[in-house]
Symmetry: C2
Subunit: 373 residues, 2 copies
């Protein structure tokens, strides 16, 4: 990642970078989608029999503009950050775990390392704003915007400048990865003690659900911590009134540095016509930030899985996305997104590699016997 | 597959082969399952956060007797057969498509070829009883017990001798594959015009549901064919009264040659402590035959996906299995099983490859900071 633009170089015109990226987002290529659907109908299977994988492949065709898309260059981005609201006792784990897990990602011992390998994807880790020290490592982008956000029950989580910096850094990261090794599909995950509190706050603000309705048990909290978490979100919503603000202000008020980086990745992926696979609660809350900045970015998102977190379903419904997997995951890191990435690859391989009725000499549903049969 | 026992050699003592296989089926190795669960609790993730994949890995550990199972040698078996009940106009496609699709499997152009490649699995195809001619091919086991079953609305689908022959052939196939190249996990699919009619009849007989309740649209039939399909199943149930007969008689009365071969594979896989992944309606109906012969075989089955066929849910409920995927598939061939196989591989890789809290120096949920942290 030696070619990455450093945060210092970015800071002059982050707002310009964001605006340029948003302006570059185009709608789906409907012609490519229609070509994919036409091919789908000629493949040696009853029409519609591959179920949702047919729609996935056709949607990726429309995203990429390729009637037979290839998803060979696969990237998993894991953004990490700490949260001032952790001081409110909303988590089962102390904030020191965020830096420890970043080290684990870099050593290859975390669940996302295994599942990225399983999906044939490379992993890039971002220290967007971890409180503890993170190591120098070739696979780690050390932004370190701040040592965690401020406690958003008392003040904005971050300044507007830092929110733009996080977004622009996500854009720069994706752009550099695409230039360096290529990206045909990206899966987005995160790590950050207490970040399910920030994510639930964003989801409540955007969807209009109450804090309690979108708050879950995160990594496994007891009743007392759950009540503290609901109260913290209610206080933040009352303090910042983030329901109607723009995406940058939403991120600044109640977001996180890792959430900002992922939102930037979604914007850049959409601008580059690259499908981005959502993971769970936090990665999907970042998609709410991105689509508040640029509604058209939603066309380039794929819902990987349905988390057990109650706010996740609300966020996916707002994005009008139906998840591919429902396995009771609640880990984050991009684990559900990496698993779903393999389904996207399978869907596109089916579209590209299957024989047509005519190729294979198979009689179709209309009873048309191919010439060579 | 040159080492395979030929059908002629098998025919003397098929009943003995089946009985010996059934007798070899042992219950789960609970100690191995407990060791897997104990390791699961030490991995760098909140307890339970990998959701159903944790249970899948622990169950495969108990099946295989290996606390950290490896699923490196993967086999997909696709068994094909034709059905006399096709004469009743129950299908959207003519029977000639069965042989055409067998040729397509051997050429690598079908959906299952793509998805087996995606899963890193080899494919073996069985002509269990196809009406049309099938080619000589190294990947095709040509049993050809008969050119399709009899119309089971008028007579048993096959003789008891042929039912035993199909079951023993499935056992021999699995046993030879295991001896030749090894099998750590097997996914089972099928092809056979009108075989969703036979499968629905088996499901109605075993679960006690009405024919109408378990009958679906198969590859996509209209209302008239749907009514013909329900009527054919009702007639077969009235003629053969298969509700209480044993598994071999059930197969003989209303089954299919490909269903018998798959049932034999399930028995052999269970006897060898190898997990077998079910596909959709027909492959799961074969599991009902197998578990009627040997209830303990059910412990070695994994439900791959939930088909759109209404009878599939009834069959899975009877087997007390919860499917891993729900993608609206209704193709058969083993497609859903091959996709689910990749989830089983992922689950076992997570169990085996992830770092423990102690290995990685990560603080656990109890706040225990590891010595090196």
């Amino acid at each position: 990642m030696t070619t990455h633009t450093t945060p210092t170089e970015l800071s002059d015109d982050d707002a310009t970078v964001i605006a340029r990226t948003v302006a570059a987002i185009q709608p789906h290529d409907l012609e490519a989608g229609a070509q994919a659907a036409a091919r789908q109908a000629q493949l040696t299977k009853p029409p519609g029999s591959i179920g949702r994988l047919e729609a996935v492949a056709e949607r990726i065709a429309a995203m990429t503009g390729q009637p037979r898309p290839h998803l060979d260059r696969r990237l998993v981005i894991v953004a990490a950050g700490d949260h001032g609201v952790a001081a409110r006792g909303v988590s089962a784990y102390p904030s020191e775990v965020t830096a420890q897990m970043v080290a684990n990602f870099l050593e290859g011992g975390a669940a996302i390392n295994v599942l990225a390998s399983h999906a044939g994807a490379r992993v890039r880790v971002v220290d967007a704003g971890v409180a503890g020290e993170t190591p120098q490592h070739p696979d780690l982008l050390r932004l370190r915007i701040a040592p965690g956000t401020a406690d958003f029950t008392r003040a904005p989580a971050m300044s507007t400048v830092d929110a733009e910096r996080a977004l622009a850094a996500g854009i720069a990261l994706f752009t550099a990865e695409r230039a360096d090794e290529g990206v045909d599909i990206v899966a987005c995950g995160e790590m950050g003690i207490s970040n399910s509190t920030a994510a639930a706050a964003i989801i409540a603000a955007v969807t209009g659900h109450t804090a309690r309705a979108v708050t879950g048990r995160g990594t496994g909290i007891d009743d007392a911590r759950f009540e503290a978490k609901v109260a913290a979100i209610e206080e933040a919503l009352a303090l910042h009134q983030p329901q109607q603000v723009d995406g940058v202000q939403l991120l600044a008020a109640i977001g996180g540095f890792e959430i900002g980086v992922l939102a930037g990745v979604y914007l850049a992926a959409a601008a580059a016509r690259v499908p981005a696979v959502l993971d769970g609660l936090i990665s999907t809350s970042a998609a709410l930030v991105a689509t508040r900045i640029a509604p058209g970015a939603g066309e380039y998102l794929i819902a990987g899985h349905r988390s057990v977190e109650p706010g996740h379903a609300a966020a996916l419904a707002h994005l009008q996305l139906e998840p591919l997997l429902d396995l009771g995951l609640r880990l984050g890191e991009g684990t559900g997104a990496a698993l779903a990435m393999t389904l996207c690859v399978a869907a596109c391989r089916l579209l590209d590699e299957m024989a047509t009725f005519e190729d294979a000499g198979v009689t179709d549903a209309a009873g048309v016997v191919p010439p060579e049969a």
